[in-house]
């Protein structure tokens, strides 16, 4: 951990920004870490490590109080705590989604993937049910615009693992859209049949 101290916050503005982030989120960070690790000392370690990780991404934070920043902070503290938990449990660096049953992706028809904005929220909820990590990685990639390397750093996973998770997240989302479309077509077919009577 001390090696991370070698990082230098480059200017006064960044230090002020970090201080503001700390003041606003440190209690939440501690709570989340404590919730995962169930130990005050480990939770404290997790917050310290997470703060030092935040330093690396300071330039990506513009508004301290926006949803984007909240999501980033939560992602960092969660991944740090989980990583610490794994270390403490002396688990190997196997990530759950790599040993999960592989989601086979069948290329969908593009027309089937066109959806309405109003459906987005429902899709997001369904994706969370399948695996919240999938929603999270899509958020990091497409909402925050992080590259795969940065995502790997943020989530404490390998570059390859980040790519695989992202691929699966997209596949899972397309599968959800596909099944929604099937239901629609089924329903439409039923209506047409009813009409013919």
């Amino acid at each position: 951990m001390m090696l991370l101290f070698l990082m230098c916050i480059e200017n006064v503005e960044d230090r002020t920004k970090l201080e503001e982030i700390y003041v606003k989120y440190h209690r939440y960070m501690y709570f989340i870490a404590h919730d995962i690790l169930r130990d005050p000392h480990s939770a404290q370690d997790a917050v310290q490590t997470a703060i030092m990780k935040v330093v690396k991404f300071l330039d990506r934070i513009n508004d301290i109080d926006c949803n984007k920043t909240k999501h980033l902070i939560v992602t960092i503290i969660k991944s740090t705590s989980i990583d610490l938990y794994r270390q403490k449990k002396k688990e190997t660096n196997l990530h759950s989604d790599l040993v999960d049953e592989i989601t086979h992706f069948q290329a969908s028809n593009i027309e089937d993937l066109v959806i309405k904005t109003s459906e987005v929220h429902e899709l997001m909820r369904k994706l969370i049910v399948i695996n919240p990590d999938y929603a999270n990685i899509l958020t990091l990639k497409f909402y925050h615009d992080f590259n795969d390397k940065e995502i790997a750093q943020l989530l404490n996973i390998s570059h390859e693992n980040a790519r695989v998770r992202l691929f699966r997240a997209k596949a899972a989302l397309k599968k959800i859209i596909g099944s929604e479309r099937s239901k629609d077509l089924e329903y439409k077919g039923m209506c047409e049949n009813e009409g013919s009577y």
């Binding site: 101290f5 070698l6 990082m7 230098c8 916050i9 480059e10 200017n11 006064v12 230090r15 970090l18 201080e19 700390y22 440190h26 209690r27 939440y28 501690y30 709570f31 989340i32 404590h34 005050p40 404290q44 917050v47 310290q48 703060i51 030092m52 949803n67 984007k68 909240k70 999501h71 939560v74 290329a107 969908s108 593009i110 993937l113 959806i115 904005t117 987005v120 929220h121 899709l123 997001m124 994706l127 969370i128 929603a135 999270n136 899509l138 958020t139 990091l140 990639k141 497409f142 909402y143 925050h144 997209k170 989302l173 397309k174």
Partner: protein
């Protein structure tokens, strides 16, 4: 197949963005819902102390990095010349050449890029192993606003004091017995003579960095920093002996 996936990704990038936006909102709401529980959990105060220390460590590192950059800039293309100070020299209206030969005995060994400044006493037998008595420290009674002493280092007989301001700018003051070498960047620099409390000194200006070298009794001093000429001279004029006690 690959092309198909890429096309699909492009088409769906808007959807992915919207999913991300919704998820961030969802996390934000979850965080707000934690408010009560967060306040109920005992928070270790040690974490606040750690954070303050972490910030201070970073601040120091930042200052060190800046100072190193500044000093590296100086030594990169430095020239070396030898100055021999004749004790009790009376410098008045002498030419640069005379100043070199008669007063400082500037034996200029200007090499390609380096010049070394050796400040030596020229009269009488010289003592070997001259020691800097740290209780005989010279200290500036005047410093520009906001500058405070942040670091003090000793290298052999040389003592260096570093003063910093909130913007991270530094002024470095070094002192050592006559006989110590200084390395000064003189390439493309403008060198002139100045008078510090009736003693001649050398002012070297390179860009916005100024270096002033002069002596007080048996001690050679230099000041270096991004400061105006009037300020550097004022600091030098107000350097006084400071008793350890």
């Amino acid at each position: 197949m690959k092309v198909h996936i890429e096309e699909e990704d492009k088409l769906l990038s808007g959807l992915y963005y919207q999913i991300g936006k919704q998820y961030a909102e969802h996390i934000s709401k979850e965080l707000e819902d934690l408010d009560e529980a967060v306040n109920q959990l005992d928070y270790p105060e040690g974490l606040n102390a750690w954070f303050q220390e972490f910030l201070q460590e970073n601040e120091k590192k930042e200052q060190n990095v800046r100072r190193r950059k500044q000093l590296n800039g100086f030594s990169r293309r430095a020239a070396i010349f030898l100055i021999v100070i004749i004790s009790g020299f009376a410098l008045t209206t002498l030419s640069v050449e005379a100043f070199r030969l008669r007063l400082f005995n500037f034996v200029t060994e200007i090499k390609d890029q380096y010049t070394k400044i050796d400040i030596k006493e020229n009269s009488g037998p010289q003592e070997e192993n001259i020691e800097l008595h740290l209780d005989n420290t010279f200290y500036p009674a005047y410093m520009p606003m906001d500058y405070t002493l942040t670091e003090s280092q000793e290298f052999g007989t040389m003592r260096i004091m570093i003063f910093s301001n909130k913007e991270g700018k530094v002024i470095e003051i070094a002192q050592s017995p006559i006989g110590t070498s200084f390395q000064v960047d003189t390439e493309n620099a403008v060198t002139s003579e100045v008078e510090i409390n009736n003693v001649k000194g050398i002012l070297i200006v390179k860009g916005n960095v100024r270096t002033l070298i002069w002596t007080i009794d048996q001690t050679a001093l230099y000041i270096i920093g991004q400061i105006k000429e009037v300020e550097i001279i004022r600091i030098a004029e107000n350097v006084t002996f400071k008793d350890k006690n």
